[in-house]
Symmetry: C2
């Protein structure tokens, strides 16, 4: 029997997160205070984020951060996640490529987002915070944060992008089952929301607007901190458990990836699986390629510009050096709500600029075609976001068929699509 | 760190299914041919089921059946499933009981149903069948069969109970993603369906009616066999992988269950986790209690009568000796569609009659209250069916709180509820 799934033991869950900033040949440029144009310091972020997260955000020296026991204990509920050899997909594609995927969909909330939600909720709790707030697009981050908040005894208020709130009511239900308050954004409950709705009465929302609302709530509410599901460097840091586990599991499989692929929203999923492998490229040991798959509808990496921009619609965040489509960009209503963000995190932006990674854009129809093929071969219905990674992997595998090369491809299955079946419905009905 | 999850290695997946019929102190009474009142023989079932399944169905001698390599290979995609100590739930209930659950929700299709779907599809394929047909209530069995059929290169036609088809459109989408044809039942495509619709024009469907339609299709179509998701003894046989794994895992945890609990539709989920433990009761080694949790709306075990009845609405099946509410019973539209079946399988019916198991009935509201509590404590949103097992477990745990006993409770989390969020929505809104 060929081994398809590679498991680590519970005690092999990484005990540290990997901080790629310590190893980057060119460090990211600093975030800037928009008023003073001075580099943002740790303390400047305190009003918004838990202090330990601010420290992690700006640290470019320490290669490893210990994972607190309380977080690691929660990881044991679903980690280590399996690494799977996708024999079914290989056969369907008739490719000599070896396709592996890291299955983050097995997390209780159905996506990789929980890896960082647990860490962020823990640090908030530890410093005495009572409430956390955040934004969510597709709802995966909001679900993860709602559950993590519940575990650590915090109240959670989630601003969900209005179009997702309407397209994906069941993500809202999940957040409510976990006890969170969910508000469609833009809302009238914040100044940022009111301003947007005044300018554009039927605004469908975007991650940028929801971030503005959540940041405003955190600033205005005592004992309340903001949390973010991607973009920030500390989020990608927490997600490196994915790549660190995958590294050990690829070793169990006796292979090493030639190409690492992930879908791309703000960069934490991509960073999570890529950064641990990328350190061996920095050191010259390996020549791995890294491919970020973004939607055609929100092409910040393939068609955005590198420069300073805000992380949110209202301009509450520091200015960040990133590939961006502009902070007031509102992408089309694609189903991959988690990829509808105008900018890329500062680390990945620098890495793209320096040629350590590549980006491809995937059309929505192609993404679902690849997702359905994967579901039929491997049994797991992927999240619309993850479909982009699958489509990019399929493209690489087909190139291998042309060239006859047995490349080893590894992608991150960031989540399942069981709460996104309405999107599949539309695909099947030919309406995408 | 306390160990919460107990894992077996891939090579510890059982290599055989356990046939409880070989060990039962009183064997089930025979199924009868309704025309002749003669005991049904293996050959009588050939027009409907694959032959190997007919053999398994009636075998009361062989204790163990080898799991074919092809099926076991597919099991490795998701088995062994984890056994989990529910520390969060114990804490919430402030109970001295030790609560464990076997997590079958990690299967690619989200429930235990795949354990038998793979076996049935394999045996059909092996004997040259091209098409399989079946009924589905909530859609979990239909999803599993659709996926299994796809894996073994068979076409699948699924009759879905109309009320579930309407209440749970996303299960239909899942089946379609896997390439199955899905028809709401009763339909005009069969004589049985036409008869029912003539009598009751807006019939909402039941498992009994859907079974009639699928059996009729199988009988009328060359190269087509019927498959069933529960009730039959061979289905429970395949599900014993659950209990066999759980037995080893409880040993890893250093405990043995005092009470084994499962929700009850036709009995395969209940049998799957119970039967391997029950053999030690037959042998006198253990005194384990076994509790089946059924819905108040469909109380065949707690309020049905033991006697010969048909397995389907139209009377196409043999007469079966079982606890039944009558084969034309149409239960209320509860969300736990998988539990809306009028009768219990012949094995479990005999076991209940002989006092080897107990049954409790759970109201819909109570089931969701327990399910939400579980979700908040353990992070997994349970299927509406599984909520019944949780409610029964909670009741046992609260009895332990009263008595101060540290009993060991084990329940089967048969599936997750991520495709049933509309039901949770209604619960949260106070509409249940």
């Amino acid at each position: 029997m060929k081994q398809k799934r590679f498991f680590l033991r519970e005690d092999e869950i990484p005990s540290q997160w990997y901080n790629i900033q310590a190893d980057m040949p060119v460090k990211p440029q600093p975030m800037l205070n928009p008023a003073t144009r001075q580099a943002v310091k740790e303390e400047d972020l305190y009003p918004v984020f838990a202090r330990e997260l601010c420290r992690q955000e700006l640290d470019t020296e320490h290669r490893w951060f210990d994972i607190p026991d309380e977080v690691r204990e929660q990881y044991t509920y679903y980690r280590p996640t399996p690494l799977v050899r996708a024999y079914g997909l290989e056969k369907e594609l008739d490719t000599p490529a070896h396709i592996y995927f890291k299955n983050e969909s097995v997390s209780p909330v159905g996506s990789h987002k929980l890896n960082s939600a647990l860490a962020q909720a823990y640090y908030c709790k530890k410093e005495g915070v009572k409430n956390v707030t955040t934004e969510t697009g597709a709802g995966q981050w909001g679900t993860a944060l709602s559950y993590a908040a519940r575990l650590f005894g915090l109240e959670a208020a989630v601003y969900q992008v209005r179009i997702s709130y309407e397209q994906k009511p069941y993500r809202r239900s999940m957040m409510q089952v976990f006890g969170a308050q969910v508000t469609p954004s833009p809302s009238m409950s914040t100044r940022a929301g009111k301003d947007i709705l005044t300018r554009t009465p039927h605004h469908q929302g975007s991650l940028g607007t929801a971030i503005s609302e959540a940041v405003e709530l955190a600033r205005m509410t005592p004992d309340c901190k903001y949390t973010l599901g991607s973009v920030m460097s500390h989020v990608a840091l927490h997600q490196t458990v994915i790549g660190l586990e995958a590294e050990k599991q690829m070793e169990m499989a006796g292979e090493y990836p030639d190409v690492v692929i992930a879908c791309f929203g703000g960069g934490s999923n991509f960073g999570g699986i890529s950064f641990p492998f990328m350190r061996h490229v920095f050191s010259g040991e390996r020549k791995t390629r890294f491919v970020a798959a973004e939607p055609v509808a929100c092409p910040k990496l393939t068609r955005g510009k590198f420069g300073y921009d805000f992380g949110d619609e209202a301009g509450y965040t520091p200015l960040m050096p990133m590939f961006t489509l502009g902070h007031d960009f509102t992408p089309a209503n694609i189903h991959a709500g988690g990829l509808r963000y105008h900018g890329a995190g500062v680390i990945v932006s620098q890495l793209l600029k320096d040629g350590y990674m590549e980006a491809v854009d995937i059309g929505q129809h192609d993404s679902f075609a690849a997702g359905c093929m994967f579901a039929r071969c491997e049994g797991i219905i992927p999240a619309p976001e993850s479909c982009h990674a699958i489509a990019a992997t399929v493209a690489e595998a087909l190139k291998c068929r042309e060239s006859g090369e047995s490349k080893v491809l590894l992608f991150n299955l960031s989540g399942h699509g069981l709460v996104d079946m309405s999107a599949y419905d539309q695909y099947i009905a030919g309406n995408l």
